[in-house]
């Protein structure tokens, strides 16, 4: 039962990763690409971690996966922010005054 549930979660994760990848390839500019990547990948990775925890059926492993997810979210949101800051979008960049 938990195995099937885990596989369902992983399938849902794959959908989000796919959507994120398609967004990365198809969207026109850096900001919307970043939007597609970070939103989809964070949810996708979260679902993947839930699925893997269910398949692994080990509470310690689940905690580790949760920590991995949190770390990746913090890092990816910060780096997305940094990339977005490097892209000219009309207003002047305060770091370059």
């Amino acid at each position: 039962m938990t195995d099937i549930l885990g596989l369902l979660f992983i399938a849902a994760a794959m959908f989000f990763f796919m959507a994120g990848s398609i967004g990365l390839l198809r969207l026109p500019d850096v900001h919307s690409r970043l939007h597609a990547l970070t939103k989809a990948d964070n949810v996708g990775l979260g679902l993947l971690m839930v699925g893997a925890s269910l398949l692994g059926s080990d509470p310690v492993l689940a905690v580790k996966l949760l920590l991995v997810w949190l770390l990746v979210m913090a890092a990816s949101s910060a780096s997305a922010h940094l990339i977005a800051r490097q892209v000219p979008s009309g207003e002047e960049d305060p770091a370059c005054k």
Binding site: A75, A78, L82, Q86, P88, E92, D93, A95, C96
Partner: protein
């Protein structure tokens, strides 16, 4: 069914690896090549994991993809803008091509020999038989720090030579601009986490994948992150203490080896009862030396700390707020404080 799925995955990994390698080599845009090389390193670490070599996977991810990538990117930052030079000369290309062809030939020959030799005596078997005497439970650490300790000692000596070379390159590269709020707060908890992870990798290396090299690379990553955030000193000590730190790895190795000779044992022939402790001692010193050398490589030269050390005493110069003490010495270049990525400025 299980087997074919894994086969498919392995073939996909191998093809992607070749594709990324080709992309990294064939692109004319250096930055693109570097990014592809980083992706190549990450994928290669997955391949190592699939080959059941988690030690190598960790090392490849930390050193091959992470730190080498950071080094290449920081080198690009200071490289003069490359003009699109046309075909200059065929000679270097031909030389590199011939060299690669020769290397590929040697590899193919080695692969053929390994395949056709059949099941002979493998080194892994010999290691496993005598693992008990090594003082550690991780066969990789046992080989690196005990059975073939000479190799690792010489590796650390090579690293020391590299550090000396970097020191002689001149002053460090110009530092980065101070970070904005989000990056600053990320760094505030990422750096302690990296240091903790390095300590864990060092400790766990005795009985599981990990060890001085992975731990040193992780510790160096903390320094790289601090450097990217505009910190000047990035935790490196100044003057003689920096030199001692760089020499710590090879130095501790030699000290332990010579001390063992005084007790009548061969050089680096640990007594089995104390082997675990001695290995941990050497690995701790090696981790610090590796981290210091890698951070030094990232800064690209001798840290200019003497003036600051005089004025600020032993206070960490990086605690000074703002970019005041980090004015680059290098003349020329208008927007010194900006990242090269900031094309807008």
């Amino acid at each position: 069914m299980q087997m074919t799925a894994w086969h498919l995955m392995d073939m996909l990994l191998a093809l992607l690896l070749l594709g990324l390698a080709w992309g990294a080599l064939s692109t004319r845009d250096l930055k693109r090549g570097v990014v592809l090389f980083i992706a190549f390193g990450l994928l290669l670490s997955l391949v190592w994991a699939r080959l059941r070599a988690p030690d190598l996977a960790l090392a490849e991810a930390a050193i091959g993809a992470g730190l080498s990538g950071a080094l290449l990117l920081s080198a690009l930052r200071d490289a003069p803008a490359m003009e699109e030079s046309g075909e200059k000369s065929i000679i270097p290309k031909l030389g590199v091509g011939l060299l690669s062809l020769g290397l590929a030939g040697v590899l193919a020959w080695a692969w053929f020999v390994a395949i056709s030799a059949g099941a002979g005596e493998r080194l892994a078997g010999i290691v496993m038989v005598r693992l008990e005497e090594s003082g550690v439970g991780n066969p990789v650490t046992a080989v690196l720090l005990n059975f073939r300790a000479y190799d690792t000692l010489l590796e650390l000596a090579v690293l020391l030579a590299a550090a000396l070379g970097i020191m002689s390159l001149g002053p460090a590269r110009r530092p980065f601009a101070p970070p904005e709020a989000l990056l600053a707060s990320l760094i505030r908890w990422l750096v302690p986490l990296l240091i903790l992870t390095a300590g864990y990798l060092l400790w766990v290396g005795a009985h599981a994948p990990g060890g001085a090299f992975q731990a040193g690379a992780t510790l160096a990553a903390a320094g790289v992150v601090l450097r990217l955030a505009g910190r000047h000193r990035i935790g490196l000590p100044a003057g003689i203490r920096l030199r001692l730190l760089m020499a710590a790895g090879a130095g501790m190795f030699l000290l332990v080896g010579l001390a063992l000779m005084l007790t009548g044992r061969p050089f680096l022939g640990y007594p089995p009862t104390q082997a675990g402790l001695l290995i941990l001692l050497i690995e701790t010193a090696a981790m610090l030396a590796i981290a210091a050398t890698l951070v030094l490589a990232f800064t690209g030269g001798r840290p200019k700390t003497d003036v600051l050390a005089n004025t600020a005493g032993k206070l960490e110069a990086s605690t000074a707020s703002g970019p005041v003490p980090v004015r680059p010495a290098r003349a020329g270049g208008a927007n010194n404080d900006c990242n090269p990525e900031q094309k807008a400025c």
